[in-house]
């Protein structure tokens, strides 16, 4: 099946098996090194990418579904300015707190932290009366959202600290810019 899509800013065209998982397309057809998981249904959560800006497990997305869509992998965070700025916020938070994800889950967790921080900031902005220091995610929903990544290198306390730190750094950066 002929498939055209945009991956990390590049327009690409492939001839692919229609039900090939996106995780394998990235590994085998694009030689991406930032995704190396393919757990065959064990739900490890280590293949996270953005599909039209929404996080998805790339092993659950068949090739036919990516036709005409935009895929953002961790490579974008390394190479594209807009994402690179976001990665800097996250790296700074890791550094400030002295906590960082292990090598196995680093890319997926970083993409998820980025996504959740943007939701937290958007929710804060939606509700101006909301104390911007408060967490719009209660503990239960945070556990649920993070449960997609099965790696146990971080506990909930670490996750909350990191999210809070990224939020502060990002809000400061956005505030400075505007």
């Amino acid at each position: 099946m002929k498939i055209e899509c945009t991956i990390d800013g590049k327009r690409l065209s492939f001839s692919l098996n229609s039900n090939k998982p996106l995780s394998l397309v990235l590994q085998e057809n694009c030689d991406y090194t930032t995704i190396n998981a393919h757990c065959r249904g064990k739900n490890c959560g280590l293949c996270l990418v953005l599909l039209d800006n929404m996080p998805v497990l790339s092993c659950m997305v068949p090739a036919f579904e990516i036709h005409g869509k935009t895929i953002t992998t961790f490579e974008s965070f390394l190479r594209i300015k807009y994402f690179n700025r976001k990665l800097n916020d996250i790296e700074k938070a890791y550094e400030d707190l002295g906590i960082r994800p292990c090598d196995d889950c680093y890319t997926s967790r970083t993409i998820l932290f980025d996504y959740l921080t943007d939701i937290i900031i958007a929710k804060n902005n939606e509700q101006p009366s909301f104390d911007s220091g408060a967490e719009p995610f209660n503990v239960e929903s945070l556990v649920k959202e993070m449960s997609i990544i099965k790696c146990t290198c971080m506990d909930l306390h670490d996750v909350r600290q990191i999210l809070n730190r990224i939020r502060i750094i990002r809000e400061k950066r956005i505030g400075r810019r505007s």
């Binding site: 098996n17 039900n19 998982p21 497990l57 659950m60 068949p62 997609i148």
Partner: protein
Amino acid sequence: MVEGLNSPNIHTPKTLSEYGNIMLHNTNTSLWAGGTYIMTRPDVYPSRATGTDNIIYLGEIEELHRFQRNDRVAEFGAMVPLYQMATSGKGVLPKILVSNIESIGCSIITRRATIGGALCTPDMTTSIPGTLIALSSNVEMKIVKKKRLHSRWAPISRLVDKNGRFQLPPKALLSRVRIAINQPSYQKFFCTKDFMSKPEDSVAIAFVADWEQDILQNARLVITLPKSGICFSRDIDNIFTALRFPLEDSEYDSIYNVLFAFISSSFQISPLQKAIIRSFVGTVVEELNRKALTMPISEN
């Protein structure tokens, strides 16, 4: 790399009548909704199954994305994602259904997983059909017969086979789910964590009843064992219906014994599943005992 081998044709109908045409002219078809179940089967790619030559992707059929309600029922197209059901239906849908959806992992999964897919998973049963059976919900099916697409509504409970599996007629499409929105006055849902990843020890339980004075009416208990199937029966419901609370310990024990004799006569059940069901029934009885004992005297 196995490019070119077993690459199924993808059909993307935009309407149900287009879907009907595709079904008429193709054999060896399989339906694809959110893909969260299909893609987690170990042999999905490269496909070792001799079967599917044609995948019909349901995501572009507008009719299957509709959600409508009146003051009695809510109707969801089969392609409505579980996440959207829980958020748009939060104030409307029975609480146990919302809790059930919320128990299914994070939004990355529930934004893709659809209500149709949650009902139709083969081999393993998700927690959703059991809850919908407890709520006496119905589904609409579309079946190609004599070159035409026919519609039929049926209660979900009627579509559970004798092995406890939800089963549509061959070649049927589940198109809509209809859920009554009146809230039973007592509802309880419980589901173990890792429902799909540790199926041998997982259980989901939905219980609804009307609480009138200190008596339970119209009780419905549905137990889902992901590997074995969905367990419910009028006999079980009758154990609870017309019970007057508070119950004595001996009454609780006899309820549990009858319930358990029924489950183990038809289903394989692990010691952990057994303990979970016991604790659930214990909690329900305790809550209802407390409710009966704290009712104002005039009501008693």
